[in-house]
């Protein structure tokens, strides 16, 4: 599988066009074989046809999906249940997988490598049965909590370590500490196997590039360069910009393949010195640099930050920051890059980002309110210097590269389920007269219980995960795991700040508002009618009438309504519960408000809610108000609302914006969108995920996604091809975009 060779010298533009065409064909094939993919696009490609085997599996972010594995690899179990557990077994099996993983060389690309398989998809029994989690899992289920238990990755490695040492240096480092710390031999064995497997994989790519150079006349020079670069990178540290891109890509590919990690951190800072040195020496043009970055981003879709302050507060925006944006602009594929917006951060970065958002319509880039996340992280008692080093690395999260384990964006408490438990308990209690005050008391109590269960789950994960499925590739690039002989999930790194997210804020706030207005104040719906509606899923004409009544109350996001007040109150209570508690073993938890694409899955298992939502429909998205909360759908109103519910401890409550295509002259559009972004951050916002979507186009695409194969949308924190999403997730995006317009629109 490679782009067709042509007999003429090709420009970078032409090569990128061919590479994009190949990516599109590969995506179509993925859609055909794997079916829907409700997560990041990733750069994964399918194995050659004769090696394919289809399996049902679960992603690193907890989504069930159909995957394709290599059938010429079978992991060696070390447990009677057929599973393999612990660092040595995981490391050895991963190395065996890499040994049979085909090499991928596209003569058009300046970089080698692509990954075809998820190592996780070979894990048939995910949890080691000796560590009994059944009771804890049942407790989590009571509040529909997505637990910490079993979570992988969602931490950011420090690529600077790898760029400095190379794979050879990393191997030496592992062996050095292995000799000292004999008690941790199992762990070091796992790390060593990962490095050896990676080196072998790179070596095979170098060989394949040399072989292909014989076949491809016009691209032979490129292929020989690829071979030379990779022969060096088997052990050596990268010396040039192109080598650095290739090295980062190898790391991305193995960590993505191993457990789905895509956290890159500060790509611009990492690459800037190589860029300067090469340009200074006359070895590199901007055109080439953009091309190398584009080749890297075609093969994986990592999360990374551009610009923002370093530890001393100085903005690090550099030439590479803009080159990365330019690469994303030319690719127009799903790219997860976040642009820093804040005091002292280069204004040009924001402007260029907004221009791309408006022009490319790919939901790229995202915008990071770094002043507020830094200020928030400091409120936990950390220094401002440390807080500034936290880098954007995942859908909605940041982490200290190589130093922080927080499994952010995994742990979710469905606030709407907590309300459901509280409401049913109150209505079943013959000793109390139902009222909103009583409901709130019970909600707070159950929220406290939900957080306590979550905390117990975090300790359980910390206790056991390293013996189940350790972080190996990420451990290699963290400060501490190799030195201490401990996995990042188990004391290897310095900071443990577990991210706990509240989900379904608007569903819960609107439910409280509806109950307060319709049941308590107006008396238009009785408690019995409400319960009947919830139990019957609003069945019959009377059920529908009650549903509409409940759904018609003033919503969160409308501005100054009962719903807005409830949202602030609920977010405040959630923040307090998470912040005031530590886990039983003393770990810190940081509150955020985000649901990721789980809004759809969490909704599927939740019954009807008092805000008129039907059973099975998605819960509200992240910290956002429900679509249609205002007649004019004004994004400014939504931006104000989300700014007011920020937990404020360094983790985010992102604002999702889906804007109509702007219609005035483009200069004013840019100013307006920039104003919207800056305004939200002025009010305390932490992150913005934005789409510029044409309503008609997205409606048409929803009917017939195949007609729009290149339509890229920012679904939540991640971006993906619209046509790769399940009908439910497509509907979820469309519902957000289609809001009624009021007068004068």
């Amino acid at each position: 599988m490679s782009t067709t060779a042509v007999e003429t010298e090709l420009s970078y533009e032409e090569r990128l066009r061919l590479l994009r065409g190949m990516k599109l064909a590969q995506t179509r094939e993925k859609q055909r074989i794997r079916g829907t993919m409700d997560f990041d696009d990733h750069g994964i490609i399918l194995p050659p046809e004769d090696l394919r085997e289809t399996v049902k599996t679960i992603s690193g972010s907890g989504v069930h999906f159909t995957d394709v594995i290599l059938k010429n690899f079978r992991p060696r179990p070390n447990h009677q249940n057929g599973g393999y557990y612990g660092p040595a077994a995981c490391g050895r099996n991963f190395r065996s997988l890499l040994e049979v993983h085909p090499a991928y060389i596209d003569p058009m690309s300046s970089l080698a490598g692509a990954y075809m398989v998820n190592f996780m998809s070979y894990r048939r029994a995910h949890w080691k049965p000796e560590f009994d989690r059944e009771e804890l899992m049942a407790q989590h289920e009571r509040y529909h909590i997505v637990p910490a238990i079993g979570a992988v990755q969602h931490l950011c490695q420090d690529l600077a370590i790898g760029l400095r040492l190379g794979w050879g240096g990393l191997l030496e480092k592992v062996r050095h500490f292995r000799a000292i710390n004999v008690a941790a031999a199992e762990f070091y064995e796992g790390l060593e196997q990962v490095v050896l497997g990676t080196q072998d994989w790179i070596r095979r790519h170098a060989r394949e590039a040399r072989r292909k150079a014989q076949e491809h006349g016009p691209m032979a020079q490129n292929l020989l360069e690829i071979a030379e670069i990779n022969e060096h990178l088997i052990s050596g540290a990268p010396r040039t910009f192109r080598e650095a891109c290739q090295w980062i890509l190898w790391d991305l590919l193995i960590s993505r393949m191993y457990n789905g990690s895509g956290a890159l951190g500060r790509a611009d800072v990492l690459l800037e010195p190589y860029y300067r040195a090469d340009v200074g020496a006359g070895r590199l043009t901007d055109e080439e640099a953009v091309f190398h970055i584009a080749c890297m981003l075609l093969r994986d879709t990592p999360y990374f930050q551009l610009g923002g302050p370093d530890a001393s507060g100085r903005d690090v925006t550099g030439s590479v920051s803009f080159l990365v944006l330019e690469a994303a602009h030319r690719l127009r594929t799903p790219v997860n890059v976040g642009v820093c917006v804040g005091e002292g951060v280069d204004e040009g970065l924001l402007r260029r980002g907004v221009e791309m958002l408006v022009e490319d319509r790919c939901g790229t880039p995202k915008f990071l309110g770094v002043d507020n996340t830094i200020r928030g992280f400091v409120r936990n008692g950390f220094s401002v210097e440390l807080a500034r080093e936290r880098a954007y690395s995942g859908c909605q999260w940041s982490a200290l590269p190589g130093r922080e384990y927080a499994i952010q964006d995994i742990i979710k408490i469905n606030l709407a389920k907590v309300l459901d438990v509280a409401l049913r308990e109150m209505l079943a209690d013959g000793d109390v007269r139902p009222c909103v005050a009583e409901l709130w008391d019970r909600f707070e109590r159950h929220l406290g219980e939900a957080v306590a269960i979550t905390a117990a789950g975090i300790d359980f994960q910390y206790e056991h995960m390293h013996e189940v499925f350790p972080e190996l590739p990420l451990d290699l690039l963290c400060h501490g795991p190799i030195e201490r002989g401990l996995d990042a999930s188990h004391g290897g790194v310095e900071y443990y700040t577990f991210g706990v997210d509240g989900a379904g804020l608007a569903t819960t706030a609107d439910s409280f508002a509806s109950i307060e207005e319709r049941v308590e104040k107006e008396g238009r719906v009785s408690w019995a009618q409400l319960l009947e509606g919830l139990e019957s899923n609003w069945a019959g004409p009377e059920g529908e009438r009650v549903r509409r009544l409940m759904g018609g109350a003033a919503k969160y996001g409308a501005g100054g309504t009962t719903g807005d007040e409830w949202a602030k109150r609920i977010a405040g209570a959630f923040t307090r519960e998470v912040k005031e508690k530590r886990t039983p073993n003393g770990h810190m938890m940081l509150p955020g408000l985000f649901s990721w694409a789980l809004a759809v899955l969490m909704g599927k298992k939740l019954g009807a809610t008092p805000n008129g939502r039907r059973a099975g429909e998605p819960i509200s998205h992240g910290a956002n108000p429900n679509p249609g909360c205002r007649k004019d759908g004004a994004p400014t109103a939504i931006a104000v609302a989300v700014a007011e519910v920020q937990p404020g401890y360094g983790n985010t409550a992102p604002l999702q914006l889906d804007l109509d295509p702007c219609t005035q002259n483009s200069a004013q559009d840019i100013v307006n969108v920039m104003g919207l972004i800056r305004g939200h951050f002025d009010l305390g916002g932490t992150q913005i995920n934005a789409n510029i979507v044409d309503r008609e186009q997205i409606l048409e695409a929803s009917e017939d996604p195949g007609r729009f194969p290149e339509l890229v949308v920012r679904v939540t924190g991640f971006s993906a091809y619209f046509s790769s999403l399940s009908p439910e997730l497509r509907r979820f995006v469309v519902d957000r975009v289609i809001c009624e317009k009021g007068a004068g629109a």
Binding site: F322, R545, T636, A637, C662, N672, G675, G679, G744
Partner: protein
């Protein structure tokens, strides 16, 4: 001081520069058949009924003392029937409606109430150079309230636009003059008799007010709606050009092609559709043609709405602005 408001729209980006909040005042002396805000024409409150949303639950039938609502059987079952002859727009029906299908359009709001909503977005006005736009209906019909609102907005340092048909007393316009940063002034039909035929009023007063405002140094942007079969003709185009020639210091001109948003609103207000254009693509083309023609003659043309349809395409004039230091392009 209260005014009759039928809508307040935040993040309004078509009614003047930057991010704005547009306050729509109810009541207009003109009666343009193509009006896209027909709920702004009559001064008094009106009952809007959206049949699509109605559940025919009958709550309004029980609530209405005027017996304006009834349920009648049609072929498919019960259907809600509204007798507007009996309706006094009292609102009992709205307060019991569970489905939001009934709504009273037009509320009486104080300056403070309007300003509370307007100021919710102040941070965005500051960031994007926007502010308040007063539109309608016709602000000149509520001159006192408009002036009071402008005074309050100016006190907060907001940029203020007034969107007007120009039909009204000069004194009213004159009061707004020092408080208004930009007038969005309609120029609908050039020929006075035709103007009267299509809008119910001659444009003699409008033209006089426009010239008077211009003479006093007001910042004015002309807004020309382009309506198929009404004013998409050479005579009007030349009239616009002559007007622009005679007022070289205008802030610019916007060409607004007809869109049929008003039709559904009319139906909800129980009024017959007054204007129908089967397709809008031709008029959008005409708008682009006219905008191009005016731009070539050196007039400043501001955002033509027809451009909306071009969304997603790369625009030729869009270069790729870069930071210094990025030298090459593919």
């Amino acid at each position: 001081m209260t005014g009759r408001v039928f809508d307040i729209q935040r993040f309004s980006v078509h009614d003047g520069p930057g991010i704005r909040t547009t306050v729509f005042l109810k009541g207009c002396p003109l009666n343009c058949a193509w009006c896209h805000n027909p709920e702004g024409i009559r001064a008094g409150p009106e009952l809007s009924f959206d049949r699509e949303k109605c559940l025919a639950c009958g709550e309004c039938v029980r609530a209405c003392p005027m017996a304006a609502h009834s349920l009648q059987t049609d072929g498919k079952g019960l259907a809600h029937v509204l007798d507007r002859g009996r309706c006094e727009v009292r609102g009992e029906c709205v307060s019991v409606c569970c489905s939001d299908s009934l709504e009273i359009v037009g509320r009486s709001l104080s300056v403070e109430e309007v300003m509370r909503e307007v100021m919710a977005d102040r941070v965005f006005y500051r960031q994007a150079g926007g502010g308040l736009t007063i539109s309608g209906g016709e602000p000149l019909m509520q001159a006192e309230f408009t002036a009071a609102l402008l005074v309050a907005a100016k006190k907060e340092g907001l940029h203020c636009c007034v969107e007007t048909s120009g039909f009204g007393g000069w004194e009213a316009l004159c009061r707004m003059l020092p408080l208004t940063d930009l007038f969005l002034f309609d120029w609908k039909v050039t020929e006075p008799v035709e103007h009267e035929r299509h809008t119910g009023q001659s444009n003699t007063i409008i033209a006089r007010n426009l010239r008077e405002l211009y003479a006093r140094g007001a910042r004015i942007r002309l807004q020309c709606p382009l309506i198929p079969g009404i004013n998409d003709n050479e005579g009007h185009y030349e009239g616009i050009e002559a007007l622009l020639e005679s007022m070289p210091n205008l802030d610019g001109i916007s060409i607004l092609p007809y869109h049929p948003l008003g039709t559904a609103k009319l139906e909800r207000l129980g009024r017959p559709p007054a204007f129908a254009a089967s397709t809008t693509s031709a008029i959008r083309q005409s708008a682009r043609f006219l905008a191009g023609r005016l731009a070539r003659r050196g007039f400043r043309v501001v955002g033509t709405e027809g451009d909306r349809q071009e969304g997603g395409q790369r625009r030729a004039e869009d270069g790729v602005p870069r930071r210094e230091g990025i030298k090459s392009d593919f």
